[in-house]
């Protein structure tokens, strides 16, 4: 009897995971994979491929390469390194795009369409069927930017060897830059932190904090969640903000400097 109950429970859990993999939940939106498939074939297939493996007809021409959804390793997540993203993470990535890559912002699609795409993208990997959802890592409130914080961040940039990839001035030209590969063995360059206030996974300081905390799965960018305390990560964020040049980066820096004692 107990054995039968366990089997039934297992089947129920499996079914609910399967159903959740066919759907997405973003706030009050429920995405539908069947609708998402139609959209995927219109908008996504040329890069990510019919099987979601990143082998679309344009993949050879893209640098970095399109994401392989079958591996379920996503750069921009709010969840710990190595874990699945939340539906909202995927939704936000589709909406925002990934700066300096071939992935544009799909915000011109309706919210429902983006939710449908999330539901369909999840069907490419069994991990979404098999693994329970993971909660987002907490982001503590940002402390005020200060000279001490920036200096501490600069020291961390040195001590944590960020410079070895991103370069001494954050230009993405560190000594290791040309040796880096992504999880599929393709060459990948570190992000040029001086480009402005856009980063791969968002524009805000919270986005930057999140990226440092969770790492960018599938790339050499690790998670610093275990190596640094939250306040240290904020220091690093404050320092990285000072590296931006041009555009709003200049104004941002000037503004930050005005706040310094």
């Amino acid at each position: 009897m107990m054995k039968g109950s366990s089997v039934a429970l297992a089947l129920l859990v499996s079914y609910s995971l399967f159903i959740s993999a066919q759907e997405s939940k973003i706030g009050r939106l429920t995405g539908n994979a069947n609708s998402g498939k139609v959209l995927y074939r219109r908008y996504c297939i040329t890069c990510h491929g019919v099987h979601g493996d990143g082998a679309g007809e344009n993949a050879p021409h893209l640098d970095p390469k399109p994401r392989d959804f079958t591996r379920a390793a996503f750069k921009c997540r709010s969840t710990p390194s190595g874990s699945l993203p939340t539906d909202s993470d995927l939704y936000n990535t589709i909406s925002r795009g990934i700066y300096t890559t071939g992935m544009p912002s799909w915000e011109p699609l309706t919210r429902q369409q983006r939710a449908d795409l999330v539901a369909y993208i999840k069907t490419f990997s069994n991990r979404f069927h098999e693994e329970p959802p993971v909660t987002s890592v907490p982001i503590p409130p940002e402390p005020p930017t200060s000279a001490e914080s920036v200096q501490a961040g600069a020291a961390l940039f040195q001590n944590m060897n960020c410079w070895s990839c991103h370069g001494k001035e954050g230009r993405g030209n560190g000594p290791s830059a040309l040796t880096l590969t992504d999880s599929k063995g393709y060459a990948i360059l570190p992000f040029d932190l001086t480009r402005g206030t856009h980063f791969k996974c968002g524009e805000t300081s919270r986005d930057l904090f999140r990226g440092l905390t969770t790492g960018l799965d599938g790339t050499p960018m690790p998670s610093f969640a275990d190596a640094l305390k939250p306040e240290q990560i904020w220091d690093l964020v404050h320092y990285i903000r000072t590296l931006a040049e041009g555009d709003r980066g200049f104004f941002h820096r000037a503004k930050s400097e005005r706040k310094l004692p």
Partner: protein, 447 residues
């Protein structure tokens, strides 16, 4: 008098039809090549834009990925695209004025049905556009018509995201008036149904040289939200209907505003309003009786205004358009403003209303069915002695486009279309209704 006016009107219709044959269309594989996107990313069915493509256009042909400037392109990349269409067509018109004895103008004239059919070519659109630098974009569009004549249709530079704001984009040059229902991106191509009559309509005997679909010379300020749901544009334009080297010291103004909103289960819906206020000269300085270009005088006003909507219901979408037009009494009667005594008794400025409904069924990105109904109704004739319905129009068009090839490098569409038009009391000799029809099928390709 009636025959004379009818003849002039008939010639106007012929001019519109010819213009329709020359209406260029956009669908730019150069962008697809640059960004490695397929036609269907930016087009519901090329050349008709979807909201992603419209956003891209409004961003100054930029995806805003940080790699829009040409410095990020391979050296061999050049932003140029071509479009052409070998086709077979059959065009028929029931009341064309012909000589009673062919070749003998003195034999008098009669009306006869003229039907022409055979293989043809559409000409060649040559379209280059892109970015000169981050947030500085450009476009040059030219067309060779099927007789080899060269036309420069679009020519502008645009400064995008001024003050780091999407709401400030300045375009200077010659360009299509900003609208979400672009004639250049229309899915119908035939001589009868391949253009929007409302965009070029002028009443019988009217001298106003203007078409909403004509590319104009001037400057445009455009702004839009991040997802392009909210858009505005204001243009200041020469009063020359886009003709270069024709200064008039007079300017027209055009404005357009659109708002998009989402309806659950239906998707994005868009509504918009537009207005054009302009002036046209009614006579010129002359030398030995010949008009001197650019010396227009006796300017009189005209206006076009209306609303439109783009409605999506699953795989169906509908474009709806309404226009109200009015011209000054001198323009409407073709009389010089310094000769009011030549106005017919009771003359007034003509007014009319028009509109169309264009429906599409997008079976998938590679097959779209098209249906269009368009009408123009005169509400007031310039000359009160003219029958009220002279010049009224009705046009029906059906067709489909199938895209067997749709890659990020090129596109090929098989196009079939039939269109039927009836204009009231415009036959050149008898003043009876004119009926024209077109059937067209061909391979529309761009690369």
């Amino acid at each position: 008098m009636g025959c004379s006016r009818g003849w002039r009107w008939s010639r106007g219709v012929v001019a519109i039809v010819l213009l329709g044959a020359a209406v260029p269309a956009f669908g730019v594989p150069a962008f697809a090549r640059k960004y490695n996107l397929r036609c269907s990313d930016c087009h519901e069915a090329w050349p008709k834009l979807n909201n992603f493509g419209q956003t891209f256009k409004d961003n100054g042909y930029q995806l805003m990925t940080g790699r829009d400037a040409p410095i990020y392109q391979q050296v061999s990349y050049f932003p140029i695209a071509f479009r052409s269409m070998p086709l077979w067509h059959r065009d028929s018109s029931n009341r064309v004025a012909v000589d009673v004895i062919p070749g003998n103008p003195g034999s008098g004239q009669t009306e006869s049905r003229i039907t022409k059919s055979g293989f043809n070519i559409s000409g060649l659109d040559i379209w280059t556009a892109g970015t000169l630098y981050k947030n500085i974009s450009f476009a040059v569009q030219s067309a060779l018509d099927n007789n080899g004549n060269f036309h420069l249709l679009t020519y502008f530079v645009r400064f995008d995201n001024l003050l780091d704001s999407r709401w400030l984009n300045l375009k200077v040059g010659k360009f299509e008036l900003d609208t979400l229902i672009s004639e250049n991106r229309e899915l119908t191509l035939s001589n009868t149904g391949g253009f929007y009559r409302n965009y070029h309509f002028t009443p019988a005997g009217d001298r106003t040289s203007f078409g909403l679909g004509d590319h104009q010379l001037g400057a445009e300020l455009l702004g839009h939200s991040r997802n392009d749901y909210t858009r505005y544009s204001i243009s200041v334009l020469n009063s020359t209907d886009g003709q270069a080297d024709m200064p008039t010291n007079s300017y027209d103004v055009y404005a357009d505003f659109t708002q998009g909103f989402e309806i659950p289960k239906l998707g994005l819906q868009r509504v918009g309003m537009y207005g054009y206020v302009g002036k046209r000269s009614t006579f010129f300085q002359t030398t030995n009786g010949a008009a001197i270009p650019g010396t227009g005088m006796g300017n009189r006003s005209f206006s076009r205004a209306g609303v439109y909507g783009l409605w999506y219901v699953g795989k169906f979408d509908f474009s709806t358009f309404f226009l109200h037009g009015q011209d000054n009494v001198f323009l409407g009667n073709g009389v010089q403003a310094d000769q009011p005594f030549n106005l017919p008794p009771g003359a007034v400025g003509p007014t009319w209303n028009g509109g169309f409904v264009e429906a599409h069924y997008t079976y998938n990105p590679q097959l779209i069915l098209i249906g269009k109904y368009e009408t123009v109704q005169m509400s007031r004739q310039a000359n009160p002695s003219t029958r009220k319905d002279v010049g009224d129009l009705k046009v029906w068009t059906i067709g489909y486009r199938w895209y067997p090839i749709m890659s990020s490098r090129a596109g090929l569409a098989w196009h079939q279309e039939y269109s039927l038009a009836r204009s009231v009391a415009t036959a050149p000799l008898t003043g009876r209704d004119e009926v024209s029809s077109s059937f067209l099928m061909g391979f529309d390709f761009d690369f």
